[in-house]
Symmetry: C2
DNA sequence: CGTGAAACAGACCGACC
DNA sequence: GGTCGGTCTGTTTCACG
């Protein structure tokens, strides 16, 4: 397991809040010299703590303001079906998340579409590619919280 | 509504895949000159199409490899409760998404924790802050797909 | 929209304490 | 870990066609 200290956590915390930070302003915020900060950042990148740097677009402006959670319950567990399912969901850019879960549901999907009609079209295209029984959907009426920042409190000094 | 053309869509698509792209490589990929590409990018930023640029961290490496969906159904709809609920979920960094939804469920939450024990602690702290009845959770066994990229097909030329 | 150029900031990377 | 100083890359604006 990688060893991380408090300073690394602070650097990661800043970068996941604002990826445009220059080395100088980052160093200033975490109270470190420019070079030491740069060395740590490179190290964290190499060790895989930083997976990617991306631009987060405004979904509303981009015309896909409707977020939908899709719940799939299936009795069908043969590998052939699963392969088709994986291939299908991977091919839809509207489907932004697919999770196999414990509990009542087998799969939870999240999609971004322009509206209810676009969702129905997505649904029709999906079930045409892979047989799905027991599908239900919840439309997001309001995004109360949504962040790409993961909690870093567990990384260091935590009581476990 | 803002007017966007195919070239803008291509620029946004590249940036949401890789936010580290320099103007030169971005211009090359979308087949535009450096300067024209820069002008369009600035314009898109000013118009709010690009909400933020962030680093996406590796949740596993960061010690919060367990993703949980939490489903809340409530009969309690008074504004006082809702205010407390909003304040509570906003205060927990482990809770990375909160959505008010249509359908059977009232709220869907997503949390990132280190494990089942950490989830239980989060749950206890949450219900201590705000009364919740009818809560259920699904633990993510496998992330089949997860992306911050939103579909851009709807933006231009789409049949709507 | 394209080009070129100039000015500036920032990233990168050694050497050294 | 901090400092110095260098080079190189990239950004940001010009002016002009």
């Amino acid at each position: 397991m990688h060893k991380i200290d408090d300073m690394d956590v602070r650097i990661l915390g800043q970068l996941q809040r604002d990826g445009t930070l220059s080395i100088d302003s980052l160093a200033e915020r975490v109270h470190l010299s420019r070079n030491a900060c740069w060395r740590r950042m490179k190290n964290l990148e190499e060790r895989g703590f930083i997976r990617e740097r991306v631009a987060i677009l405004d979904a509303e402006a981009a015309g896909c303001g409707l977020s939908v959670f899709i719940f799939v319950r299936t009795a069908n567990h043969d590998p052939d079906w699963l392969g088709k399912f994986r291939a299908a969901v991977s091919g839809f850019p509207e489907i932004v998340g697919v999770y196999r879960t414990s509990g009542d549901l087998d799969y939870i999907l999240r999609a971004r579409v322009s509206g209810v009609k676009a969702y129905d079209r997505l649904y029709q295209r999906l079930i045409a590619k892979v047989p799905l029984s027991d599908v239900s959907a919840s439309f997001v009426m309001e995004e109360i919280k949504e962040t790409t920042s993961i909690p870093l409190s567990e990384m260091v000094g935590g009581a476990g």
